[in-house]
């Protein structure tokens, strides 16, 4: 268990570090720009889920990361907005992190509620069709 987590820590750290190395070492500026937003953590997490528990769970991790990525845009937008408004660097960073977590969880919960609503609507329609055939 601890060994597995240590391996994940090393892999995740190495992936993020490698994307920084590419930015610094690359002779082409364009490559640096591309790798500045490389989704290293997501790729490592999906890879590890694939190795340890197969395609289904790897796809679920990738699906969950969509909400986290939406939160990521909100995090960057929050940092940008509060830096412009307050010029307070630590406060903007803290608010960015807080907004990332809140918005990711909110989007994920909203999506789940929408899924449940759609599912119950389908059930009602199916029941109505069944009664009609009867």
């Amino acid at each position: 268990m601890t060994k597995d987590l240590l391996l994940r820590f090393l892999l995740g750290g190495a992936a993020v570090m490698a994307s920084y190395l590419i930015i610094v070492v690359s002779p082409w500026e364009i490559l640096g720009g591309i790798f500045a937003a490389f989704p290293a953590v997501m790729i490592t997490a999906v890879l590890m889920a694939g190795v340890t528990s197969g395609t289904k769970n790897a796809a679920k991790i990738a699906g969950g990361s969509v909400y986290g990525m939406i939160g990521g845009v909100i995090c960057a937008a929050t940092v940008w907005l509060f830096l412009k408004l307050t010029h307070n660097w630590p406060l903007s960073m803290l608010l960015g992190l807080l907004f990332w977590l809140i918005s990711s969880v909110m989007v994920s919960t909203l999506r789940e509620k929408l899924n449940i609503k759609l599912f119950s609507r389908k059930m009602v329609l199916a029941e109505a069709r069944f009664r009609h055939h009867k």
């Binding site: 995740g12 796809a59 990738a62």
Partner: protein, 119 residues
């Protein structure tokens, strides 16, 4: 491109490692979907901000962080698209092939976006 900095490397290593470990622990306790949220922890963006915090002070730090935040918004927008495509590809072709294809998709979209924004 700036020079190589040990503190920048260390910050990225620690943030990246912690994010993957957090994603695993949350996935085990609350399910893969919740774990996925932590898989998208903006480690690269926050590491870039923290590194800027070590090198710069005052207004220079604020303006550099504003530039970083603008770039991160575009980068994360691409990553949302790639994560959606990854789900489809993983389900269709399995995790190995699907992940490689998703990486190819990320590279292609990033090249196009960077080429458009640079010129």
């Amino acid at each position: 491109m700036g020079g190589l900095s040990v503190s920048a490397l260390l910050i990225r290593f620690i943030l990246g490692g912690l994010a993957v470990v957090a994603s695993t622990i949350v996935a085990r306790k609350l399910g893969e979907k919740a774990g996925g949220i932590f898989a998208a922890f903006p480690a690269v963006f926050l590491a870039a901000l923290l590194t800027a915090g070590l090198d710069l002070k005052g207004e220079a730090l604020v303006s550099q962080s504003i530039i970083l935040s603008k770039g991160a918004m575009v980068g994360m927008g691409i990553n949302i698209l790639v994560a959606i495509v990854a789900v489809l590809l993983l389900k269709k072709h399995g995790w190995k092939k699907g992940l490689i294809e998703a990486l190819g998709c990320w590279l292609a979209v990033s090249i196009v976006v960077v080429a458009i924004t640079v010129n």
